[in-house]
């Protein structure tokens, strides 16, 4: 489903990068896990005006921005285009 999902309106769909799950050789507990604030853009809505936001680039955004959608084969984060701070 992640391959087929498309962003609507002014939204951008991102697959977050994975963060390190270990510290000093020990697994971090779930409460200590921090979400990445970067991710790969997989879909850009038709009404996004900023031309620097393109599919395939890495977006930088606030940790708590957007909604998380749980799909059958993973999770994606949906942001408003104004919540994207920059692209790499």
């Amino acid at each position: 489903m992640i391959d087929k999902i498309k962003a609507a309106g002014i939204h951008v769909i991102i697959v977050r990068d994975e963060v390190e799950n270990e510290r000093g050789g020990l697994l971090k507990p779930a409460s200590d896990k921090i979400k990445a604030n970067t991710g790969k853009i997989i879909s850009v809505g038709a009404m996004v005006r900023d031309k620097t936001i393109k599919t395939g680039l890495t977006a930088v955004f606030n940790n708590h921005a957007g909604f998380v959608l749980e799909l059958g084969d993973g999770e994606v984060t949906v942001l408003n285009s104004e919540q994207v701070i920059g692209t790499l």
């Binding site: 609507a8 309106g9 939204h11 909604f67």
Partner: protein, 179 residues
């Protein structure tokens, strides 16, 4: 009389709390919803003077607050002059009781959560952030899965010709993704 400034004139039968007739068949708003319980229900109105999107004779479902006893939209008898926006007009109905989109309100249906164990129908709960498009329009096709801001769907339940029908109204701007 012609209305101005994106307003329309409608006729609302104040005795419709029990039922009204649509295309010769009995139409009634459901009094209690299974998943989205609201005390007030939308009101059915008949367009008398319309605009570019609504013509005389069209049947629409409107927000109940427009037709209170001391409503500022009241003209005389059963006639009201209301603004035509997505917040006041929820959907359009045809003579077969089928809903149609109006003013960027997408018509959708519930998507049930999938449980590991098979549950009875009264115990299943729907997802609150995704719906299935039921009617073509607003750039979406029937059958597409629509992802929205959680709890953005507004359930409308009505009984037409003895058959209960459930639809969910979502504004187009609340849709964040689709498949």
């Amino acid at each position: 009389m012609r209305v101005i400034e994106n307003k329309i004139m409608v006729r609302v039968d104040q005795s419709q709390k029990d039922y009204t007739l649509l295309g010769g068949k009995r139409f009634q708003m459901a009094k209690r919803y299974e998943h989205n319980n609201r005390i007030k229900q939308p009101v059915i109105a008949f367009v008398v003077s319309g605009n570019d999107k609504l013509k005389c004779g069209d049947v629409i479902l409107c927000h109940h607050n427009l037709f209170t006893e001391d409503s500022p939209h009241f003209i005389k008898d059963n006639y009201y002059g209301i603004k035509a926006t997505h917040e006041t007009i929820f959907l359009k109905l045809d003579t077969d009781g089928n809903p149609h989109q109006i003013y960027n309100n997408v018509i959708a249906g519930w998507v049930d959560k999938q449980a590991i164990v098979e549950l009875p129908s009264e115990s299943t709960k729907p997802k609150v952030d995704r719906y299935t498009c039921l009617v073509d329009g607003c750039g979406y096709r029937k059958g597409q899965l629509l992802f929205t801001i959680p709890y953005s769907g507004y359930e409308i339940v009505y009984i037409f010709d003895g058959e209960e029908r459930r639809v969910i109204k979502i504004h187009k701007d609340d849709i964040i993704a689709f498949i």
